[in-house]
């Protein structure tokens, strides 16, 4: 499985003004079982990029192919987990997880079995018959992960899924996500604005510049998992990524007085 993004750009038209250039010439190749983070400040086009890949938006130019086939509409090969809580409040947890299976006309019993499998995976099997309002924010995002995984996509697109959670819950969910990823070996494209989160989770970190979002650099992260956030190697990679972000947020002429890195 290979996802190839080539020269992707996106303009949003603004009435009576020049269009907003949200993304510019993004090229990226993501391979089988890879965990790739897309990192950049708020407003740099991360959500836009993920939405285009998911088929919820269309690119102004450029192409996306999955195993050679052009992706220009939504595809069952991909599932997206949204930044905001997106569970259906009128459905129980398990009925949320079976939603995608209903769309594929999977029978009731098999759909329930698949849903239970993924609820088990995210550790929420005992909450199957509860309603979303009975769950905490972290649990809701776990259910959203189970719902996305239930359609067995090849690629999981995650848009700052833990952004609204407190630091402790966030760390726990990051750890759990890695465990799930190691069990299921999905390809993950993970959007975040947290350097720490990106370094903790990913094999590669795609650092975007602020508006318009261009790829600043793709940072390889060879550290073995589970990663220790307090280790010097972790700090070194984080430092490097931070420098990239700071550099790209300054006007070019300021770069001359760039402070020496540690």
């Amino acid at each position: 499985m290979t996802l190839v993004i080539q020269d992707l750009s996106k303009e949003f038209p603004v009435p009576n003004q020049v269009p907003i250039l949200a993304l510019s010439t993004i090229s990226l190749t993501v391979g089988e079982e890879e965990f790739v983070s897309i990192l950049g400040p708020s407003g740099c086009g991360k959500t836009t990029l993920l939405r285009i890949i998911a088929g919820l938006d269309s690119a102004t130019s450029g192409s996306i192919t999955l195993d050679g086939e052009t992706i220009d509409r939504r595809s069952s090969q991909m599932a997206m987990i949204f930044q905001e809580y997106s569970l259906y409040p009128w459905r129980t947890v398990i009925d949320n997880v079976t939603f995608g299976l209903e769309m594929q006309n999977t029978g009731k019993k098999p759909a329930r079995d698949i849903a239970m499998k993924y609820l088990n995976l995210v550790g929420l099997a005992e909450f199957a018959d509860r309603f979303p309002y009975e769950l905490s924010g972290g649990m809701r995002q776990r259910v959203a992960v189970a719902r996305a995984m239930a359609i067995e996509p090849k690629i999981l697109l995650m848009d700052e899924p833990f952004g609204a959670l407190d630091a402790q819950t966030r760390n726990m969910l990051q750890k759990e996500l890695l465990e799930i990823w190691e069990k299921t070996k999905k390809t993950v494209l993970f959007v975040t604005h947290s350097v720490d989160e990106a370094v903790y989770l990913s094999d590669r970190i795609v650092v975007l510049t602020p508006r318009p979002g261009c790829i600043r650099e793709i940072v390889e992260n060879p550290l073995a998992r589970p990663r220790d956030r307090t280790s010097p190697e972790f700090a070194r990679i984080r430092r490097h990524v931070l420098d990239l972000i700071n550099e790209s947020s300054q006007p070019k002429e300021d770069l001359i007085v760039h402070p020496p890195s540690l």
Binding site: M80, W90, Q104, Y133
Partner: protein
């Protein structure tokens, strides 16, 4: 405890009524409770209703008319509201006309109803239809617009087609607000039926009954009729509220 407190004022009013009736001593202005209660406890008897239909027959006639006009309004307003909530074009096309018609009180349509549909059932149903239509329509539009964009997009990324989005996201997502519209619409329809039954040529219905009682100077029957109108209104409102708690509690509990 709450119940003694909520019953306090009604009890005081009834006592005050009896005392006032005793001193006024004129059953046309204020009849004693003892002349109203016998009517209410014999709802099937025509002896207490001056030769017209019994309380139950009159209530049934009113309910049937309300139900007809209300259902007709719901059948037209809900699909129209969904269309207007979903389609910018349809909304812009219809909105100004609806805003123009909406402030006209349902009863202002009575003369026109008579001109179009003559005296009888259809005219009454038409008035009720007008009364119920706008609250149902406006709440449906609001409900559809309140459906989160993310809910629709989640469905799309999970493989939903247009009809799936409509039946599995838009309808359940807007249902609580539509339900509120139905409740409000029914309340207004119930108010309309009483006055609509004052149209000439009507000979059954709670509205007809109280006007008929007035013509005979029987204020106790007027009040009994009013009590029945009020009680039926409360009961139906309670049914709607029970449905709200039973099916749509997720909306108030959702944070």
């Amino acid at each position: 405890m709450r119940s003694p407190r909520i019953l306090l004022l009604p009890v005081l009013l009834i006592v005050g009524w009896e005392v006032a009736a005793y001193f006024i001593d004129n059953p046309f202005v204020l009849p004693s409770l003892s002349t109203v209660i016998p009517i209410l406890i014999h709802p099937f008897s025509t002896e207490y209703t001056l030769g017209t239909g019994s309380l139950v027959e009159n209530a049934a006639a009113s309910l049937f008319r309300v139900a007809s006009g209300f259902l007709l309004a719901a059948i037209i307003a809900i699909p129209l509201g969904i269309g207007m909530g979903r389609s910018r074009f349809l909304h812009d096309f219809l909105d100004s006309t609806i805003e123009l018609l909406r402030p006209i009180p349902p009863l202002a349509w009575v003369p026109l109803a008579l001109a179009w549909f003559k005296i009888g059932f259809v005219s009454i149903v038409f008035i009720i239809f007008i009364g119920a239509f706008f609250p149902i329509l406006l709440n449906t539009i609001d409900g559809v617009k309140s459906v989160k964009k993310t809910w629709v997009e989640v469905a799309e990324t999970l493989g939903a087609r247009e009809t799936d989005v409509l039946t599995k996201v838009i309808l359940p997502g807007s249902a609580p607000t539509v339900w509120t519209g139905l409740r409000v619409g029914f309340g207004i329809a119930w108010m309309c039926v009483v006055a609509a039954e004052w149209m000439p040529g009507i000979s059954l219905g709670l509205g007809y009954l109280i006007l008929y009682a007035y013509n005979f100077g029987q204020t106790n029957l007027i009040i009994a009729g009013m009590v029945v109108i009020g009680v039926i209104g409360i009961l139906i409102d309670q049914v709607f509220r029970a449905g709200e708690r039973r099916w749509f509690s997720w909306r108030s509990l959702e944070r």
